[in-house]
């Protein structure tokens, strides 16, 4: 993609003023890091509160005459239980293709906004939003429609002090439970706030009109507890937290069962099916899978990057690394990838083929650091 074609988010100028290093990501010019660097940003998020702009992600709502009709419509495309969502409640799921592969992963929230009781608010990955919106629209039942929210910005406030920081703008927003959401005025700015995130920490995702994004961002950053964090630390944070990155740890060829996302598929959906790709999900739930996503911890200091081959102790290839790097809070290299199911138990010794050398490693439980979500 040529540089001219890169899109800019509502906070682009602010990132530049903050001295961010901007890189192309999913068609946008995004801050990968600020002057302090990825290590410092990562650790700050784990100790205090980090503020991320993620306006490149796709926000839309699916609208229908009433909640049940809308929920049943989306349940055709995702394996999660949408019908049981309470107003304001949020759930993680995946858009599946007809073969049971993952077209994208997404967050789905039942609206608790007055006048929008039949709506589901959906956030998808930046790199997939074009596909996702078209796919959802094509497959919606009559009477349902998809509305893109391209004029909304999105930011994430993450870390153990996120609650304290947001409480200064609106104490009610700080009372949200994990995976719940609502509409709040944050010091004069209307926002849709959910208690969720992508770092393994407690935190909030905040959707606001693009025109008000700079005001809210600046307001949050004026708190000494809060610092701006780029996509580089977002990646190392989510990797330590064992969370999948679409296009790397999950894609059109992997199923939610291979990816270990069984927890996101409720019992009713497993039994009833009735979603795209259900035959594979149901078959794999009963009969098992030949490969599984696992955490892998190299024993030495050398990181094993995406694409690194995983070998058994005899040197036979048994899998591949899909995300790998350095975990600043772990203070060592960490990775995740797929291995043959026989090797998927935590503690299994494996080898990683890094620059022609087979380096010792172990299959590890995920996450690498304990999640600190606010339950």
């Amino acid at each position: 993609m040529s540089e001219e074609a890169l899109r800019r988010t509502p906070l682009y100028e602010i990132h530049k003023e903050l001295g961010a290093k901007l890189v192309p990501f999913a068609g946008y010019e995004m801050p990968v890091q600020y002057p302090t660097g990825i290590l410092t940003e990562h650790k700050w998020t784990r100790e205090s509160a980090g503020l991320f702009e993620v306006s490149h992600m796709g926000q839309c709502s699916i609208e229908g005459p009433d909640f049940e009709t809308t929920a049943r419509g989306l349940e055709m495309l995702v394996p999660a239980d949408i019908l049981s969502l309470q107003p304001g409640q949020q759930r993680y799921s995946q858009l599946l293709n007809v073969q049971g592969g993952i077209s994208d992963d997404l967050m789905i929230t039942r609206s608790n906004w007055q006048g929008l009781e039949g709506s589901l608010y959906v956030v998808v990955n930046a790199s997939r939003k074009g596909f996702d919106f078209a796919h959802i629209e094509e497959n919606l039942a009559p009477g349902l429609s998809l509305k893109r929210w391209d004029d909304l910005a999105l930011m994430a406030l993450q870390g153990p002090k996120a609650q304290e920081a947001i409480a200064k703008l609106n104490p009610k927003a700080a009372e949200l439970h994990f995976m719940n959401s609502g509409r709040f005025t944050l010091d004069g700015v209307e926002a849709h706030v959910s208690r969720s995130g992508y770092t393994g920490e407690d935190g909030f995702e905040i959707s606001v009109a693009s025109a008000h994004a700079a005001q809210l961002w600046t307001n949050l950053l004026s708190d000494p507890l809060v610092k701006p964090i780029g996509l580089g630390a977002r990646d190392s944070l989510r990797l330590e937290a064992g969370l999948c990155l679409y296009g790397h740890d999950i894609d059109r060829t992997t199923s939610p069962i291979e990816a270990g996302l069984n927890w996101s598929i409720a019992k009713r959906r497993r039994t009833e099916g009735g979603f795209l790709g259900a035959h594979r999900v149901q078959r794999e739930l009963l009969g098992g899978v030949s490969r599984k996503r696992v955490g892998i911890k190299p024993e030495g200091r050398a990181p094993a990057r995406e694409g690194t081959e995983v070998l058994d102790e005899s040197g036979r290839k048994i899998g591949i690394i899909t995300s790998g790097g350095f975990g600043p809070s772990v203070n060592g290299p960490i990775a995740m990838g797929y291995v043959e199911t026989a090797y998927a138990a935590a503690g299994t010794p494996v080898q990683l083929l890094v620059r022609g050398q087979a380096l010792p490693a172990q299959v590890s439980i995920l996450p690498f650091i304990p999640n600190r979500f606010k339950r």
Binding site: V32, P303, G325
Partner: protein, 120 residues
Amino acid sequence: MKFSKDHEWVTVEGNVATIGITEHAQSQLGDVVFVELPKLGRNVAANESVAVVESVKAASEVYVPVSGEVVAVNDELSGDPALVNRAAENDGWFMKVKLSNTSELDGLMDKPAYDAFVAG
């Protein structure tokens, strides 16, 4: 001190060259978390990839700008890779090479030329 287009620096004492990555290179890489150095006694050729420096985000190759035998490596980098960020052009050196062809030094840039090269 001389500089290569691959962002390595070289200083020479007698016929031994000390080699590292430049201040500009470390600032572009960001936080260094791992350095892989060549084995002692290895014969390296100019512009050969002989070391790897890894930041949180990515791995980058380090090309040796001169030919010769590796006679020393900086062991401190294994326990403290961030030394590359703190002191790229002195204590954060990578390796020492006994030169087999001193004329290769003539092809390297001096400081003003390198600064101009970096400025593009």
